[in-house]
């Protein structure tokens, strides 16, 4: 099997957009992610618990955004890309039943000894509401 090509820095330019990734985060998604990460906190699946905290519904685990941001980068850049750093700041909560979009763009391309490093900014939005802002550094083979 030949895997899809991994992009090289030569194929990228500053300002280039990361193809957007849309994901509906249903009650099932939240329960599944909680199970897969051994995170059994009621905040992520129990509507009564959320109400008692004066929240409208179960809250998406912020680290799930990290998983989606990484997915968007790996899908785009290819299987030899290696995410060195990924950081995100939460700007607003996302609740069960909402659909998020991840997008972003290249902010820099830096050659290193035997590889290149691509710097990016990314965002998670729900409609026109920003849920998280992120920065990433990805190592690409030459």
């Amino acid at each position: 099997m030949t895997p899809p090509r991994t992009l090289t820095a030569a194929a990228l330019s500053v300002g280039q957009r990361v193809p957007p990734l849309d994901r509906a985060l249903t009650a099932v998604s939240l329960a599944a992610y909680g199970g897969a990460t051994w995170d059994w906190h009621r905040l992520h699946y129990d509507p009564g618990y959320a109400r008692a905290l004066r929240l409208p519904g179960p809250v998406v685990d912020g680290q799930m955004f990290g998983a989606l941001l990484a997915e968007a980068l790996m899908d785009w850049l290819g299987p030899r890309a290696f995410i060195r750093r990924l950081g995100f700041r939460m700007k607003g909560m996302v609740f069960a039943g909402e659909t998020v979009r991840c997008d972003g763009e290249v902010t820099g391309i830096h050659p290193a000894a035997d590889h290149d490093v691509v710097a990016l900014v990314q965002r998670i939005t729900v409609g026109d509401r920003v849920a998280a802002e992120a920065t990433a550094e990805v190592r690409l083979p030459r």
Binding site: Y49, G62, G66, R80, R84, G87, M90
Partner: protein
């Protein structure tokens, strides 16, 4: 009265290690990818991953920094079984402010991951809702069975008073 008491300050610098119990495993990797909705064959197809230069399937990048399983605690009232500091603070809700991950190599199903949590910082800052809130920053370092660093997760949680004063 400040939220950041002397007692709370004494927690800064505390550290706890949760040792590996078993290999990460292919099932955990596939479960995570399925739960996220990530259909990248790097996580489920050995032949594909090997053609990309990996010894086998690898873990999705952020799986290694999801460390709830290592604490191995019974669930508390809120169901949580992962690491928590149980700081002496009441009447607050816990909100994630952000995470900064650093990764050192792809994680394999054969890796035995141990994690050390360190309470790096507690800062009290004004809240837009009035009063103040606490920003608690912890650093989780994940290593493999040889002590090689796999990832570092710098995580900041906000403790927000339910009734700001």
């Amino acid at each position: 009265m400040p939220l950041l008491t002397d007692e709370l300050k004494s927690w800064i610098g505390r550290e706890v290690t949760y040792p590996a119990r078993e290999e990460l495993g292919r099932a955990s990797i596939r479960y995570f990818a399925l739960a996220v909705g990530d259909d990248n064959p790097l996580y489920t197809d050995d032949a594909y991953a090997q053609a990309a230069g990996h010894p086998s399937v690898i873990a999705p990048p952020t799986l290694v920094v999801e460390t709830c399983q290592y604490a191995h605690r019974p669930p508390g009232e809120d169901g949580y079984i992962g690491h928590e500091w149980l700081l002496p603070v009441t009447g607050c809700r816990l909100i994630r402010a952000g995470n900064e991950y650093e990764f050192f190599r792809p994680v394999l199903p054969t890796d035995r991951v141990s994690v050390t949590w360190r309470l790096a910082e507690i800062v009290e800052r004004p809240s837009s809702r009035g009063g103040t809130q606490l920003f608690v920053t912890s650093v989780a370092t994940c290593v493999d069975q040889h002590g090689e660093r796999l990832a570092v997760n710098r995580e900041t949680i906000v403790l927000q008073p339910l009734d700001p004063t």
